[in-house]
Symmetry: C2
Subunit: 322 residues, 2 copies
Amino acid sequence: MNIEMITAATNRLSGNVRRTPLLSSPMLDEIAGRRVLVKPECLQHTGSFKYRGAWSAISALDDQTRARGILAFSSGNHAQGIAAVARAFGVPAVIIMPSDAPKAKIDGTRALGGEVVLYDRGSQSREEIGDQLSAERNLTLIKPFDDPQVIAGQASCGVEIAQQAADMGITQADVMVCCGGGGLTAGIALALEAHAPDMRVRPAEPEGYDDTTRSLAAGERLRNQQEAGGLCDAILTPMPGEITFPILSRLCGPGVVVSEEEALRAMALAFHHLKIVAEPGGAVALAAALFHPGQFETDTVICTVSGGNVDPAIFARALETL
Amino acid sequence: MNIEMITAATNRLSGNVRRTPLLSSPMLDEIAGRRVLVKPECLQHTGSFKYRGAWSAISALDDQTRARGILAFSSGNHAQGIAAVARAFGVPAVIIMPSDAPKAKIDGTRALGGEVVLYDRGSQSREEIGDQLSAERNLTLIKPFDDPQVIAGQASCGVEIAQQAADMGITQADVMVCCGGGGLTAGIALALEAHAPDMRVRPAEPEGYDDTTRSLAAGERLRNQQEAGGLCDAILTPMPGEITFPILSRLCGPGVVVSEEEALRAMALAFHHLKIVAEPGGAVALAAALFHPGQFETDTVICTVSGGNVDPAIFARALETL
């Protein structure tokens, strides 16, 4: 991983991924007690930042390899990103998803032309299913975060943040990133190291799934006690990645852990003041900025809203917190 | 009104209003049977396009006049636009609002520093209240649509549409605009006349409040039977404006009328596929594109989502249509 790889990925993505805006509201600033800027990756194609990494990885394959097809494991957002990018390149995509993934994400993946293979988290191994499918059909596996080209694609979000903040005269900030396996967090951290060195990336996680926060504090990769359940499905991973963790460890400040209730309230406030749709896992960074002001010393906090693929019933539940 | 005035307003707005993106989803294209592009003005400051016109009009005043303060009548979106821009210029704003305006809009206007004066639509005349306040405090009235500087500000949205569509190689399209008094519709029509002459603007309205559609068909300004009630409060006006109607009449194609149910379904689909929050009146243009395909002959329909200031209970009702 180096900045040349990120620049190359950003160039491949140009014109193919959306340059999301940087949003703000005086009401959110007031709640947080400082300036809050929001990078709404929910407005990205397929409703999450995952489209960036998928485009980067699939566009980096040679034509013959790509034409044979793509394989991915995902509970949802990576699935939709891969399915949509594979379709844009006219190649098949097989996505192995847990049968308890949010319906909106399973339906969305199928609607984008992805071939969805469901498995039971309790009784089946997705790796075995994947190995078999991959061998039979000669597919190329694209991992959700522990892949340098995926990380380079997510880094394009950080390149945009650096440019957009600089246009506003902002060079110092804490940049809160919703963190699962760490692909977006590591990518943004690498981009900012090169383009906005006075900004510091910090991961945001939900209570009970704070593997990255604990790992950063301990200096080694620690595992979550639980792997599924909870509202923040988009960012629940067993532990930080082998490739992502050394990057996070070198570049990121301490993590901030928020409750599910705070994530729901942040979703409601994003609805009310920014007019965007955040999913629970996509709202933890904003929740950190709004409800944990004591964790910050900077005048400005930039928050990713990493995705918006939420079932209506959960969104309605968030609105009830207003 | 001429294109020089629009160019001057667009230049005054540059860096002060948000350049909203042009969004799309393959799922919306499939429903509509053609390409659908969405201009989400809900992402504009204060959650609606009205901030553009407010900035244009207030920035065009001389310093002394502006310093005395601004007066506006509005059920909500113009109110918030005026309050926020007045605050940005450090001048007072008094907003006369009906007491039955959506709570989110009254609260939003106050939170932005606007002095809200409520009146009862049934028993009080907002004009009398306005005349009295204006005389007492020497305020400058900025009308919501029948003001050349307001129209020139809304036109900046059309300038962006022309540029963004051209970047995608699109020069021909029907451009559906959510239409109340016609300020946004007239502004976009004037901008496209100059910058994208093969695009045609068409107003979208809710059933029962289709004054512009009927007026365009009749060639004269006709009045709505009812002036209040209904979900689409943002775009309910008695009749097309004196200044806006001749522009609409010269430049716009026939209107499209949608039901409230269709507006709610369009809100739900914008939530699901675009991750944006539309209010009912802000969703009528998208509803026209999605549910009235027989009204279009072009390959591409560009829809404004003019605002997103909706009470949570109404949004939850829209989600139930999914």
